[in-house]
């Protein structure tokens, strides 16, 4: 099963409006999913901050390629190689966080619920995906695509 499909099963139909990736505690990518299928991707290649505006083209593969190209073109792919990154974290409001490691992704997903006294609580579930996972722009493009799908398809 592809990484996008495995992630889609975890994310379910929940639409997260924004998603941020971190390397060593520093945000390197923030993706914002807007209405009208517009996507804004803000990137930090540790030299400057960059902006990419795109549209979801109704086709998952085309979108994934567009995102990967933007990550390569804006120096994010090179940054990950240069820093020999072994761990990338990501976070989306509310509430999902994950950690990408070589050949593994760990995801904690919180579902808000209400108890019998009417008090809101968050129930966290932990998921693990194992497979041939590299810490490159390719994997980040897969994850961004998986988060875009519930918004636009």
């Amino acid at each position: 099963m592809s990484l996008i499909r495995q992630l889609s099963r975890i994310i379910d139909r929940e639409a997260y409006n924004g998603l941020t990736f971190y390397v060593n505690g520093v945000p390197i990518i923030t993706v914002e999913f807007h209405t009208d299928k517009e996507v804004t991707m803000l990137m930090n290649d540790m030299k400057k901050l960059r902006l990419f505006d795109g549209r979801f083209p109704d086709d998952i593969d085309t979108f994934r390629k567009k995102i990967e190209t933007a990550l390569v073109y804006n120096g994010i792919d090179e940054l990950l190689k240069e820093l020999k990154v072994m761990n990338i974290k990501f976070y989306a409001e509310r509430y999902i966080d994950g950690e990408i490691m070589p050949n593994k992704i760990v995801i904690n997903r919180g579902d808000a619920d209400v108890d019998e006294n009417g008090q809101e609580f968050v129930l966290f579930k932990r998921y693990e995906i194992t497979g041939a996972i590299e810490l490159t722009g390719h994997t980040l493009a897969d994850i961004i695509t998986a988060f875009a799908v519930p918004h636009y398809l």
């Binding site: 804004t40 803000l42 901050l49 902006l51």
Partner: protein
């Protein structure tokens, strides 16, 4: 003469299309001077990366105020003030480096001069602007306004 006027006198060139500010070597703000006096401000508050737009109508004070509001709203002002031993630097292509300290601003730039036989020589210039500078989000809009003024007037 205030710090903006001093900077305009020192930089004195229309060629800077963007400027990036760093906090302890991490890019926290990139300002892109676009066409029609439109300015994109990308900010990294160490939690996420955000994008804002501002216009330069020729009035430095209004621009400084608009920019400062963005930096306060997006958490940059607080980030600078809560960072231990903050070192704020800035860079603009081609070849302009600056350092902000409590005693003032140092600007270093490389310029090409032509000799008697029209041979190009790279000249490194260093300027020190002495002033009582408070290291907060307010000094950044002041510096940015000098670049905006040079670019658009």
């Amino acid at each position: 003469m205030d710090i903006v006027d001093e900077l305009i006198r020192v930089v004195n060139a229309k060629r800077y299309y963007s400027i990036t500010f760093y906090l302890n070597t991490v890019p926290i703000i990139t300002i892109n001077f676009g066409k029609d006096k439109k300015i994109t401000v990308l900010v990294n508050n160490m939690k996420e990366i955000r994008s804002h737009e501002v216009e330069f109508n020729g009035d430095v004070d209004t621009f400084v105020s608009d920019m400062y509001n963005i930096l306060v709203y997006s958490g940059i002002d607080e980030l600078i003030q809560t960072t231990k031993d903050p070192k704020v630097t800035f860079y603009s292509e081609p070849y302009l480096h600056g350092t902000i300290s409590k005693d003032g601003i140092t600007v270093e730039l490389d310029e090409v001069d032509f000799g008697d036989r029209r041979e190009p020589n790279m000249v490194h210039k260093k300027y020190e602007i002495n002033a009582d500078v408070q290291l907060s989000g307010l000094i950044i809009p002041k510096i940015a306004s000098a670049f905006a003024y040079l670019r658009f007037t």
